[in-house]
């Protein structure tokens, strides 16, 4: 739904000088109207984030929570433990693989879908709406039905896979830590992680589809008609006319989807619980917070996650932000 919104729009006209009474009234009304939100967001978002930073530098556990305050023994111990442990580095790599592959598949599928539904046909509106269902459906229900379908004992996918597709034995899609090999090339990606990536693609492609459909509809027909007259084939028209106009949208989608997938906790926690080579950092943080009660270590890992995200997004924007404006 955010998709249908345009960018920032232009700022409202500045009050002219001399209208100071009106301007002053506006300013006062402005502060009055915005203050409830500012207070809520400040106390429930901004302050907690600052507090996480403080927690990351302290030895806080759930058990000694009562004693911990703002003034405590600050040290870098959590960070050195976290960065030095192979578990965290593994989780970070898993997070990267999961978010890069999930983003790529989701946008790829969304692009193909937008292209396939480009020309009007009877019932297109209904098809479009149906394709958005995976995106709006509650994550708990979606993960539950998929884990039932992928179940090795009575899952419908394994039933038809073994019967019709000639699989030797049922695949434990969500609990197999076996690495996937493509054409004999070992990918170091477990079966379960691949399942999570495909689930992410299934759940998020509608988002990319929505954005790309809106953009595609804005492409003038005349360009393509001219290209057709010049003898351009459908793939050539896509390659040289449609795709270049979609690139800025794809770039924005890449940032958005990457950020959300990188931060994602729900999907992997609900599908695999973080087992079988699928432990992403967010799930690991949860494990430290709840199961181990080590708040300091949890905070340190979450902070590293946020910092890496910020760095990656900044680098991406530096690399592609310019060319996007030029396009």
């Amino acid at each position: 739904m955010l998709a249908s919104k345009r960018g920032d729009g232009e700022p409202p006209p500045r009050p002219r000088h001399g209208e100071s009474a009106r301007a002053r009234e506006d300013r006062r009304t402005g502060y009055l109207l915005i203050s409830p939100t500012v207070i809520i967001v400040f106390t429930m978002v901004v302050l907690p984030i600052l507090w996480t930073i403080s927690l990351g530098f302290q030895q806080v556990r759930l058990l000694n929570l009562r004693q911990a305050g703002v003034i405590g023994d600050y040290s870098l111990e959590n960070f050195s433990n976290v960065l030095g442990s192979s578990g965290f580095v593994d989780a970070l790599l898993t997070t990267l693989v999961y978010s890069v592959a999930g983003t790529a598949f989701a946008i790829g599928l969304g692009l193909l879908a937008a292209l396939a539904l480009r020309r009007p046909f009877r019932g297109r509106g209904l098809v479009r709406a149906s394709m958005l269902v995976p995106y709006v459906a509650p994550v708990v229900a979606a993960t539950f039905v998929w884990s039932t379908m992928l179940n090795p004992q009575f899952g419908v996918l394994n039933y038809y896979g073994t019967r019709l597709l000639g699989w030797d034995e049922p695949v434990a899609f969500l609990s197999s830590a076996e690495p996937v090999s493509i054409l004999g090339f070992d990918t170091h990606v477990s079966v379960a992680l691949l399942s999570c990536v495909l689930f992410e693609a299934w759940r998020s492609f509608p988002f990319a589809f929505l954005f790309l459909t809106a953009r595609i509809q804005a492409i003038p027909e005349s360009l393509e008609e001219a290209a057709t007259v010049d003898g351009a084939t459908p793939t050539q028209r896509f390659r040289h006319i449609v795709l270049p106009q979609l690139l800025p949208t794809i770039a924005v989608l890449t940032v958005l989807r990457f950020i959300w997938t990188f931060n994602n906790f729900d999907d992997i926690y609900l599908l695999t619980g973080g087992g079988a080579g699928t432990q992403v950092v967010a799930v690991r943080v949860y494990d430290y917070l709840i199961n181990r009660g080590d708040i300091g270590a949890a905070a340190a890992q979450a902070l590293v996650l946020a910092a890496i995200l910020a760095v990656l997004v900044t680098v991406y924007l530096k690399l592609f932000g310019r060319s996007e404006e030029a396009a």
Partner: protein, 295 residues
């Protein structure tokens, strides 16, 4: 029209291929989008032993349809059920509460950010948008600690406050974009007629923004209804306060509750969202796109 080339040109090959691939791909998309939900409904009507005997059935056999799963999942634990009726009540309370409070906060806020010139206006919008991209798990840690200390963990009120804080920022962003598309001249006319700012806002801009407010309300409702992480962190120890999402995820882990019963729970969790989505698709799409075009 393509240029005439002798034999089979690349163009005609591609066109013919697309003629086959396109409909096939559309069918593929429909199947992957809808089949899981069809399967959810199907399993919710079947009985566990028949599912285990015949896992490949794609429609229920005659006389198999069984509503006991729904009775079981809805009934309270005292009556031997799973207590989903209570979960629905909790989810409704939290989701509707989030909608009402976040709109009360966000509508004036969005209006101020869009219309009124005051110091820090731009910075505030930027900070609010940043919230949307922040790792939820990072926020989860201090809030978990805070609510544990305040003794508010396990209450629906605590969850409600967190939800409002999370969505208010996004609501402001969405609504602001809409307010930006309403011409300021309308309000200026009202001002000339002697309206104050607040009167102009209430009588001129608010009615015009109703479609955006309605779609924002739906959006917020969906977020709150679907939310899982904070419900898990805050409510897991208090079964009587579980939301539908949390209840389903918790019971899915236990072996005592049959999968078919939980499928009935999944349908109950999903149905309101799908209904709202298709309703809003129909009667809100017009208003939304109209607003977008003006901008």
């Amino acid at each position: 029209m393509s240029t005439a080339t002798p034999g089979i040109s690349r163009d005609s090959v591609e066109r013919r291929l697309l003629l086959v691939i396109r409909p096939a791909f559309i069918i593929f998309l429909l199947v992957i989008s809808l089949f899981p939900f069809y399967y959810m409904v199907l399993l919710s009507f079947r009985q566990l032993d028949s599912v285990l005997q015949d896992p490949g059935a794609l429609w229920p056999s005659l006389g198999e349809i069984d509503l006991d799963t729904y009775k079981n999942v809805l009934a309270s634990t005292a009556d031997g059920g799973q207590g989903f009726l209570n979960f629905i009540k909790n989810s409704m309370l939290v989701a509707l509460g989030t909608v009402v409070i976040s709109l009360l906060v966000a509508i004036p806020g969005a209006y101020a950010v869009s219309r009124l010139e005051f110091f820090g206006r731009r910075q505030i919008s930027a900070v609010f948008l940043g919230v949307y991209f922040f790792p939820a798990i990072l926020l989860a840690i201090p809030l978990f600690v805070l609510f544990t200390r305040l003794g508010q963990r396990g209450t629906l009120t605590g969850l409600l406050v967190v939800y409002v804080a999370q969505v208010a920022a996004v609501s402001i962003y969405m609504l602001r974009n809409y307010f930006d598309t309403i011409p300021a001249s309308l309000e200026e006319a009202a001002a000339i007629d002697g309206c104050t700012r607040l009167q102009a806002m209430r009588h001129v801009s608010l009615p015009l923004a109703l479609p955006a407010i309605a779609s924002n309300a739906l959006f917020v409702f969906m977020i709150a209804w679907n939310e899982f992480l904070f419900a898990l962190l805050f409510l897991v120890e208090r079964r009587e306060n579980w939301t539908v999402s949390l209840g389903l995820s918790q019971l899915a882990g236990s072996i005592e509750v049959p999968t078919t019963v939980l499928m009935a729970g999944s349908v109950i969790l999903t149905l309101p969202i799908i209904v709202l989505f298709f309703l809003s698709e129909r009667w809100l799409a017009g208003g939304l796109t109209a607003g977008a075009e003006k901008g």
